[in-house]
């Protein structure tokens, strides 16, 4: 293969424009704050907070730039090329670890039916890393029944690894080392993924049509959410995420992302490029690579393979966390994985963009600490500011009052709020113009959902900021968070559970507000949007985990579920019932 793919002119132009926009916005924010804060002279805390506002605004503006780049629709929707026969041998890989086998295998049964309905011959391999013997026994029972009920012997496979080395990446690697030679392509899924057979057909055809394509990532839609928190994320993933993803795809070009699932890989490319070593030293920075997907995408690009994201491919689904605690648990793992990438920034031969992606991933978490540091520096700057000197000149008759810098501060605050809100409002405007809102319950309902999502995410942002800051500090202190099993299904939390989980945030908010009220009362009003949600953290955690009625946060997948989703629900109901004749059913699997 040729070496690292070279970005084309449009990709380079978009990257330059987005980085330029971020730097300009950050420069403007820093200039405004510097103008407002250095009137009485330049002090250390002013320099610190001006630097921090530059960095944090650059991060916000970079995110907004991604949305703006993604706003224009693609000129041509990706039309799948025809599948060339004979169809190359393909396998769907479903790594699982301590999952509910009934739900997981119901998804597999639904996908198996959908694949056959699409006229494909594709195997499905369940790769179990389940440690608990009782859970493993349930997996085997359910798999035997799955084989019996789908007549799937010879195309549905199950194997359990006794040595869980390398976790999910190691699980996939173990499959490739043992069975990779039997397949040209592998569709990598998560235990909660669902994919239409037609989508798999599309993916195979795209890989056939472009022999240099090593990995093609889809944008999975979140389904099955019930709680306020889950449904808000589900709506955001359906409404906003395609635009952000299109922006990302345009800027990343052929060095695109891999999100670890709902993607197809060329097995040969993956095998020759993605054998991950364990990093020397203990976790969290050493040991097995936790966020392996970003690294695998970078390694594929290093070996000259194209890695692309196509957000227009439909029929790709996953589930999401249904409460803040489940989200924070997953985020803790992602945080550790992204910070671990600091070890790989200087890895030999990587594309510059791959290194930049690592930096972005690190910054996504460190930014929370920077925001916190900015608040602390702002308080310190106010507390340590010298008192105003009304008579700077000797023998001065009239006092000189310091000029009012409220205008600069308000402009800065509005600018930051604008960077947060404009992308979402622009997406709403573009969706209304293109009639995309019709699939989200109409213009009024979509607008209501967008506004409700903005309010909810604004309320939850300080809570998330605290969880992220804690995660970053835990990792920097050398604490390994491991790989806790995902919590799926019912995510409703009790009041006691929410209080225990959110009390430290409540206490942090109360202490911060009391300290500011005492030390710098003039700043208290500016801190209320952060401190009030922190004070309400236990309530927010509890309330947002509760189911809400449909209506708000309507998504197309809810109103008109894809056939594979309907089939999954049927299979779930079927496998939840005891088999009529379990012994015979198991026998039939032979």
């Amino acid at each position: 293969m040729a070496r690292v793919p070279v970005p084309d002119f449009p990709t380079l132009t978009l990257r330059t424009a987005a980085i330029g926009f971020a730097v300009l916005a950050a420069g403007a924010a820093a200039a405004l704050l510097a103008a407002a804060s250095t009137e009485d002279g330049v002090h250390l805390w002013d320099v610190v907070r001006t630097t921090l506002i530059f960095v944090t605004t650059a991060w916000l503006a970079w995110g907004a730039a991604g949305a703006f780049v993604g706003l224009p629709n693609r000129r041509h929707r990706s039309v799948p090329p025809p599948l060339t026969l004979p169809q190359p041998p393909t396998v769907v890989l479903v790594p699982i670890c301590n999952e509910d086998p009934v739900t997981t295998f119901a998804r597999i049964a639904a996908m198996d039916g959908s694949i056959r309905a699409a006229g494909l011959s594709v195997d499905i391999a369940i790769l179990s890393d389940t440690r608990d013997d009782l859970a493993a026994a349930r997996e085997r029972d359910t798999f035997a029944r799955l084989l019996a009920e789908t007549d799937g012997a010879g195309r549905l496979f199950y194997r359990r690894r006794m040595d869980n080395r390398g976790r999910k990446a190691g699980n996939i690697e173990d499959f490739i080392r043992t069975s990779g030679g039997a397949y040209h392509f592998a569709v990598i899924l998560d235990a909660d993924s669902l994919m239409e057979g037609e989508t798999i057909r599309h993916l195979i055809a795209r890989m056939q049509a472009d022999p240099k394509l090593g990995l093609l990532q889809t944008l999975p839609k979140i389904i099955g959410a019930r709680s306020l928190f889950g449904r808000a994320m589900q709506f955001s993933a359906a409404f906003h995420a395609p635009v952000f993803a299109r922006g990302l795809a345009r800027m990343q070009g052929a060095t695109g992302p891999f999100w670890g699932h709902n993607a197809i890989v060329r097995v040969k490319a993956f095998a020759e490029s993605c054998g991950l070593p364990a990093l020397d030293g203990p976790p969290p920075f050493g040991g097995h690579i936790l966020s392996h997907d970003y690294v695998e995408a970078a390694l594929l690009a290093r070996a000259g393979w194209k890695v692309e994201l196509d957000e227009t491919i439909e029929g790709s689904f996953e589930e999401g966390p249904d409460n803040i605690l489940a989200h924070a648990r997953r985020d803790r793992r992602w945080c550790q994985g992204n910070l671990q990438h600091a070890r790989l920034l200087a890895a030999p031969g990587l594309a510059p963009w791959s290194r930049f992606v690592f930096v972005q991933g690190i910054f996504a978490y460190v930014a929370s600490l920077f925001w916190g540091a900015f608040l602390v520096a702002s308080i310190a700057a106010t507390v340590t500011a010298p008192p105003p000197n009304y008579f700077p000149e000797p023998y001065q008759l009239f006092p000189v009052f310091p000029s009012d810098r409220t205008k600069e501060i308000v402009t800065l605050a509005l600018g930051i709020v604008g960077l947060l809100l404009l992308p979402k409002l622009s997406i709403l405007g573009a969706a209304a113009l293109s009639d995309r809102t019709r699939r989200f319950g109409g213009k009024a309902r979509a607008a209501g959902s967008v506004l409700a999502e903005i309010v909810l995410s604004s309320l939850l942002a300080p809570v998330m900021l605290m969880y992220q800051s804690r995660a970053v500090m835990q990792v920097l202190a050398g604490r390994d968070g491991g790989w806790p099993a995902n919590q799926r299904g019912e995510g409703r939390l009790g009041p006691g559970q929410s209080l225990v989980a959110g009390f430290w945030i409540f206490a942090g908010g109360a202490i911060a507000l009391a300290a500011v009220k005492m030390l710098a009362p003039s700043l208290a009003i500016w801190l209320l949007p952060i401190c009030l949600p922190m004070l309400a953290a236990p309530f927010l955690i509890w309330a947002s985990s509760h189911p809400i009625a449909r209506g708000l946060f309507t998504t197309p997948e809810e109103t008109d579920p894809s056939p594979v989703i309907r089939s999954f629900h049927r299979w779930q109901a079927c496998l939840s019932q005891p088999a009529a004749q379990p012994r015979e059913a198991l026998d039939a699997a032979a």
Partner: protein, 57 residues
């Protein structure tokens, strides 16, 4: 394949049968070089300087 191969008579649970396993077709997957050699570059040196003491501490 007999039912005895599939069901443990003691526990009446299914037993992983040979034909459940994916086809055997080994493929090499070489380990990749990810970390820069010790002598390479300021970034590698800085990374080691900043991260190593933390993880051992």
């Amino acid at each position: 394949m007999s039912a005895e191969r599939l069901i443990d008579s003691q526990t009446v649970t299914a037993v992983e049968a040979a034909h459940w396993a994916p086809p055997v077709a080994p493929m090499d997957m070489p380990r990749q070089l990810l970390e820069a050699p010790h002598h390479a570059g300021v970034i590698a040196w800085l990374t080691r300087l900043l991260l190593r003491p933390v993880q051992h501490g």
